[in-house]
């Protein structure tokens, strides 16, 4: 339903798109990278079921608290779950990379008040290196890509991108540079 590697996505546009600019690849982090917050949501979901036991251990009983307070606490807990789910999805869905026929665009929303857009015009790209690290990265075939433009500075860093080696190859093909496969790192 929400793919992480989309070639020639339809019905997708981005801010600042030129009329003759076409999206070749839409990339997001691999869904498995969402596992930490999903685990946290599962823990929060089951927390109310353990509260009576925790209260008994503390020498209290649930019936000591007014029922209205219990209801409000329960609602707040599930609203918190809803928020974490929603925020987790938003940050995954809108932290994306686009490769167009003109440039590479990497958009990061790392928190609610921070937006970063990094651009690298294709003709200026000198290198694209991919790194796959760890058991999970190797198992699910995702990794990091760093793109370097003219100059020493790394222009764009993309994290946890599905099929990172193929993506780096596509970027270099579009930039008109040969891909040096010896630079693919598998840690």
């Amino acid at each position: 339903m929400f793919p992480t590697y989309v070639e020639h996505p339809r019905n997708v546009k981005f801010e600042g798109q030129d009329p003759d600019e076409k999206i070749i690849l839409l990339l997001r982090a691999h869904p498995i990278t969402n596992l930490p917050w999903i685990f946290f949501v599962i823990v929060l979901f089951f927390t109310p079921f353990f509260i009576p036991s925790i209260l008994i251990m503390a020498g209290l009983r649930l019936s000591m608290f007014p029922q209205t307070f219990q209801i409000i606490f329960l609602i707040i807990d599930y609203l918190l779950i809803l928020s974490i789910l929603y925020e987790g999805f938003l940050y995954w869905y809108f932290n994306f990379t686009l490769i167009t026929n003109k440039k590479v665009i990497d958009v990061d929303f790392s928190n609610i008040l921070y937006k970063s857009v990094e651009l690298a015009p294709l003709p200026k790209i000198e290198e694209a290196d991919s790194t796959t690290s760890g058991i999970i990265g190797s198992l699910f075939n995702f990794g990091d890509i760093s793109i370097q433009t003219a100059g020493a500075k790394v222009a764009i860093e993309m994290k946890d991108i599905s099929r990172s080696a193929i993506v780096a190859d596509i970027i270099l093909d579009l930039a008109g540079k040969p891909h040096d496969h010896s630079k693919e790192e598998h840690i």
């Binding site: 981005f14 209205t68 307070f69 609203l79 938003l90 809108f94 929303f109």
Partner: protein, 77 residues
């Protein structure tokens, strides 16, 4: 110990303090939900997809539910 705890929890001052704490948490949460609407708006403009409108509608609904909950909590606590 249970009798002591029961006495404390029946204390009006403690309950009023609890009510105030819950209301403050909910108000802060409400502000946070409004910030989410702003952020979703910004995100939706950055990447325009068929589900952008649905995501925005969820953000507004989420904020509405929290405002409703603040009013409910104010009334029943």
């Amino acid at each position: 110990m249970e009798v002591g705890a029961q006495t404390i929890l029946n204390n009006d001052i403690i309950l009023s303090f609890g009510k105030l704490a819950i209301l403050i948490i909910l108000i802060l949460y409400g502000v946070f939900s409004l910030l989410i609407i702003r952020q979703v708006d910004l995100m939706g403009k950055t990447l325009i997809t068929p589900i952008s409108k649905i995501i925005r509608a969820i953000a507004i609904l989420h904020s509405g539910v929290i405002i409703g909950l603040i009013i409910l909590a104010w009334g029943i606590l």
